[in-house]
């Protein structure tokens, strides 16, 4: 219970820090925030009006609570280029990103957990070694390199897949989600495998063997729950790189989700939109990793004493 409280408090503190960083970035970094948000062509009049409206002429201790209050009420201002509320844009575009992340997570779970587990049960040493080697190699290549190279080979040279992304066809999602999943798969698989190896050497496994349990029962019932919690932690830790991976994958494959929106915001120097996106991304990451942590606390009673 105390650990639960501690974790939730930490998450709230993190969210506060995120909003504060967003505020500092937009309002306190060198440069005129009014000009940044309204763009270079804005007239003197519009700038003056914006300053008045956003309270830029007021002291810092008045500006900051206002920003926090507006952010909590999901008022992230308007986008310079689209001339629409940032929140609306984000809601519209998030469907594609959520879909992409969902498919990738499915792939991470099937490939990183089920394949090593099956290999453990059937027990082919050579296949396991090769899997390990592949995952090490895959873990080095960043998603943008992997995506561009795969697209150049499959769509460019071989012509196997269409270069134009069609969101309606489920097959079109396979390649992008695999590229996004590659890095987390590599990391999770390696950790999961190493942990299985460690657990299998422990005394309780020997004892179970002596008592006559079959290899399959030992792996599934005794070893798997112990190895699973660490692998879950690995997924939680890799969340930030997973999310930033969507930027690249969406840009490469032309999926119009949040990553693409970020890319366009950078290109257009649309600081209002970019700040909103950053805050939303950061809060989403914190929320998911906190949920995963809490889930771990529920599964594994050993962890409960550690934080408190």
């Amino acid at each position: 219970m105390r650990a639960l409280f501690h974790r939730t408090a930490m998450a709230l503190l993190t969210m506060w820090l995120i909003v504060t960083i967003g505020f500092v970035c937009v309002y306190k970094l060198p440069g005129d925030p009014a000009r940044m948000i309204l763009g270079r062509q804005a007239s003197e009049e519009a700038l003056r009006e914006f300053r008045l409206q956003a309270g830029l002429d007021r002291p810092l201790w008045r500006q900051y609570p206002r920003f926090v209050d507006r952010t909590i009420h999901l008022n992230l201002g308007d986008s310079l280029v689209y001339r629409r509320p940032v929140v609306e844009l984000i809601r519209e575009r998030s469907a594609a990103t959520v879909k992409l992340v969902f498919f990738s997570l499915l792939e991470v779970i099937t490939i990183a957990f089920i394949i090593p587990l099956l290999l453990r049960l059937t027990g082919s040493e050579i296949a396991r070694n090769w899997l390990q080697r592949c995952s090490v190699a895959l873990g080095i290549v960043p998603p943008y390199v992997l995506g561009v190279v795969i697209l150049a080979i499959l769509a460019g040279s071989l012509g196997w897949v269409s270069a134009i992304f069609e969101p309606a066809r489920i097959r079109a999602w396979i390649l992008p989600s695999l590229v996004l999943a590659a890095y987390p798969i590599a990391i999770t698989m390696r950790l999961f495998e190493n942990h299985m190896q460690c657990e299998l050497r422990k005394l309780y496994v020997v004892r179970a063997k002596v008592m006559g349990f079959s290899h399959r029962v030992i792996v599934l019932r005794e070893v798997l729950p112990n190895a699973l919690t660490t692998a879950l932690a690995a997924v939680a830790n890799g969340l930030a790189s997973f999310v930033t991976g969507t930027f690249f994958v969406e840009v490469i494959f032309g999926i119009s989700g949040l990553g693409r929106l970020t890319y366009d915001a950078i290109g257009n120097k649309d600081i209002g939109l970019l700040a909103g996106l950053c805050i939303v991304f950061a809060v989403a990451i914190t929320a998911i990793s906190t949920t995963l942590d809490l889930a771990q606390l529920m599964i594994d009673p050993r962890l409960r004493g550690r934080h408190a």
Binding site: I18, P142, V145, S157, A163
Partner: protein
């Protein structure tokens, strides 16, 4: 410390040193000007004259990849060193002196660990503007947490060892113990952190360049070259290939060397 290198580690060392040397001397090598536009040879295949082909403005791809290595390596090195330096100072201070300092830093590390700063680099860099200095400061400024965490734990475990106690008994001050006796024992850890840090920084820097946050336009960066290659991926594979190979080999080399140092820590 580096006896019996495996072939992979040797290759990593050779690749990194040759890359650094070629990048450092690029201005004097017989390379085509990376910014020289030649509209008579747009998107040429790799030939004897242009080993890696030419891009959409007729510029030599090989010399662009090499000149891109200069800025990329400088930024990677600068940001990694900054991050390690910050982490080392804070980590040794907290781990060795302990007490209230340690508790504050421990809390700060926990808090900073959970904020996804990678996202905010995008915001900060697009507001401040892209330059070598701004990239080094922002990327280095967010990556200190890992090294601070590791070094804090290491120096806390070294603090109770006999040689530190002996030094204290001989009357050395705590500054000289921390810097003369504690630090040298952290060298393997430092090299490991340097290797993994370089992997992280290079991945981030190239990724930023890929989504459009690279040094101003005509100057090549690896991420920028990859992004250019994406536009012509169906007709000109060589635009993608050479920058992809350069990035991947460099990352793999840093990773391999880091793993090597990591092993020496465990052996001690």
């Amino acid at each position: 410390m580096l006896r019996r290198l495996s072939i992979r580690e040797l290759l990593a060392l050779v690749w990194l040193t040759s890359l650094a040397m070629i990048a450092a001397t690029a201005a004097w090598l017989p390379l085509a000007d990376p910014l020289q536009i030649n509209l008579g040879q747009i998107l040429f295949h790799p030939t004897v004259a242009n080993w890696a082909g030419t891009d959409e403005l007729g510029r030599d791809v090989l010399s662009r990849v090499i000149f891109a290595a200069r800025s990329t390596l400088v930024i990677t090195l600068g940001a990694t060193c900054l991050a390690i330096l910050l982490g080392m100072v804070l980590g040794v201070a907290a781990g060795y002196w302990g007490g209230i300092l340690d508790r504050i830093l421990g809390f700060a590390i926990d808090l900073f660990w959970s904020v996804p700063f990678v996202i905010f680099v995008v915001l900060i860099v697009s507001i401040v503007g892209v330059s070598r200095l701004s990239l080094i400061l922002t990327i280095g400024g967010i990556n200190w947490v890992t090294s601070a965490r590791v070094i804090r734990a290491e120096s806390a475990s070294l603090r109770g060892r006999d040689f530190i106690r002996t030094a204290r008994a001989y009357g050395f001050g705590s500054w000289s113990i921390a810097f003369l006796h504690l630090m040298p024992n952290l060298s393997s850890t430092l090299f490991t952190l340097l290797g993994y840090g370089a992997v992280e920084v290079l991945t981030l820097e190239t990724g930023l360049a890929f989504i459009g946050l690279s040094l101003p336009a005509p100057r090549p960066t690896w991420g920028g070259l990859l992004a250019e290659g994406l536009t012509y991926f169906s007709s000109a594979w060589w635009l993608v290939a050479f920058s992809a190979i350069a990035v991947t080999l460099t990352l793999a080399s840093f990773q391999g060397l880091a793993q090597r140092f990591e092993k020496t820590i465990y052996r001690e």
